[in-house]
């Protein structure tokens, strides 16, 4: 029986790690060991270049995710690993969406772009590339609305996260 993980909620995990080879490998192993899939993953150098920030989203049962996070936390090169459960944090991602267009439906597409405060960054006869930023739900909603015109390609960065005010991420 193949476990259907997609029915479980999505979890957002933020990690501060030492910027060294192999760190990402060890983290992904903790997920892979249980047959858990990483939905999105963003790695970038932190303000202090000796460290990296990693934001992971993954679907799964909450108690299993708790265990995964603890097992990530005990890896030697991980400074901290934490799940962000409340919605009070700043969460953003960026998507590039390439949509089929022709002169007839272009105005409606541009209306949608305007509504979502997105922008067109490539404009040719039969397609547009739209850049949109925002939270995951917004990007999902916009992608859904553009589907009827015909999506050619979709690339998303995955979610990044930061705490508000003086709270440290």
């Amino acid at each position: 029986m193949i476990e259907d993980i997609s029915i479980h909620p999505t979890h957002t995990i933020s990690l501060l790690v030492v910027n060294r080879p192999g760190v990402l490998y060890r983290i992904s192993m903790v997920f892979a060991r249980r047959g858990y899939n990483i939905e999105s993953l963003v790695v970038s150098p932190a303000l202090d270049g000796r460290y990296s920030r990693i934001t992971i989203t993954a679907k799964g049962e909450s108690d299993v995710l708790e265990q995964i996070i603890k097992q990530c936390g005990k890896l030697i090169d991980i400074v901290h690993a934490e799940e962000y459960k409340d919605n009070s944090n700043l969460e953003k991602e960026l998507a590039l969406i390439k949509v089929k267009t022709n002169s007839a439906d272009r105005p409606e597409v541009l209306q949608i772009v305007e509504h979502f405060k997105a922008e067109t960054i490539d404009f040719v006869d039969d397609s547009l590339v739209i850049q949109v930023t925002g939270d995951t739900e917004k990007l999902d909603a916009m992608t859904e609305m553009l589907k009827k015109f015909g999506l050619i390609e979709l690339v998303r960065t995955g979610k990044i996260l930061m705490r508000r005010g003086s709270n440290k991420t």
Binding site: V18, P21, G22, M29, R33, Q67
Partner: protein, 574 residues
Amino acid sequence: MEQKTTSINGAQALIRCLEKKGVEYIFGYSGGAAIPIFDALVDSKIKLILVRHEQGAAHMADGYARATGKPGVVLVTSGPGATNTITGLFTALMDSAPIIVLTGQVPTYGLGKDLFQEADVFGMTAPAVKHSYLVKNSNHIPQVVEEAWHICSTGRPGPVLIDLPKDITSGACTVSLENINMDLPGYKIPGKASESDINAMAVLLNQAQKPLILAGHGVILSGAEDELQELSDKLDCPVVTTILGKGAFSENHERSVGFLGMHGTAYANKAVGDCDLIFSIGSRWDDRITPAKIERFCPNAKKLHVDIDPAEINKVLVPDAYAIGDAKLVLQQLIEKIKPAKHPEWVQHIVGLKKKFPLSYKLHGGLKAQQVIDEMYNLSQGKAVVSVDVGQHQMWAAQFYKIHKQKGWLCSGGAGTMGFGVPAAIGAQFGRPNDLVVAIVGDGGFQMTFFELSTIMIHKLPVKILLIDNKYLGMVRQWQQLFFDNRKSGVDLEGNPDFVKLAEAYGMQAFRIRRPADVKKVLQKALDFDGPCLIHAEVVKEDNVFPMIPAGATVNDMILKEPKMAMDKPVGST
């Protein structure tokens, strides 16, 4: 002032750093990519123990580490040399044993290019280590050794691997070997527990009427045996141990209830069922000691948990109170908060259970492994360091060889690695030259690493090997008999050699036991023999280990003797 640069290479720096850590032995097997390191060993006071297989080297280092508390060191070459250590790394990881494995590697320019004997050792071993390094600069070697030593031996100990490309060990190392800094900002070592966690546990311990301590390997790793004794005394509290916790609390003590679990003593398992509080210290509620439906584990008892590894809290069960920290320090904190108590009825109940459900075996109907092990215990006065392999003999040894000496029990518990017993005994004997070391092994596991008899003979190690030979993989055969209508498959070890002749081929003294009446006499001869020897005990082919709690079941389902009816297949893992 101009800094004078030292003219040593990476391999020499590596060995000097290990010398400074007090390493006495390196268990190794040479090969092309590791030649510079073996070369550096020629001028070192560290003694190289040349093994016969890399798995043997890893288990020797593990046995050395468990018997002494000091890290064991392994040195092998790249490719297959390194991959052969993976079983040993995994064994050490599962049981939190501190070992350092040094692997030669192809030169850095060849990494990822499929050179001869190149393997992605970092990648292949990552899930089997506490931490690992691929060194890409000769000047990093001193810091890497410093960190590896620290990581493997502190917190929850475990194996650390250092992959050393040949150009890095050959290249000049010009940094100082003094005052080496570590850079481990992510590594946390829990020490004392928080005051509030201690108080929460103390309240429950002070309220308990039928408290039971469950002592695991963590007590031994932390050196908290004396604190455990003190806590048990002050609280008048019986102690069960896990199989790896044997020796954490003297098994001769009135309040010792032996080891619990699938083949643990009936009284230990019944005590677990009867207690109103179970306090795990350095045990991880492993599936050999808890049922698959965890809510059926001591449903009426409060559960307390002390562990140095935060990831063990809430992993199997949610305790009523817990503390994250080093067992020794946490127990010291806790003892201060405990009110002296007396639980005479409860202790009498435990004593009664021990009398009512003793471990037993029959002396008629052929030679029994239990008798051989029991007699070994009596004749060696329980003073041996006992190393076991995996299977029926392991359970009988755990049942009948009581441990009352610290670090006297070496057992692959978590991994269940066959082939562990003999090399682990070798490592232990190197570490404790003045102690009697006995390897109790089965005919299956013995044949996985018996080639290390050479290592024993070369170094004249006075290890006694007690080979329990039932010509079967007995534990699997037992399962097949009980749960698979006795359909034997893959368990008959026909073709076993004459083990006495085999030992003699290595120049080793060997003894044979075939009759119950000979047990005492032959074992005494073997123990009196000055030097290594093998005792081949040909026991009855089909005997089963009892008590038994089928995998996944609860103490209520424990069977004490051969069942009359066919049994359902167990719900738990293997």
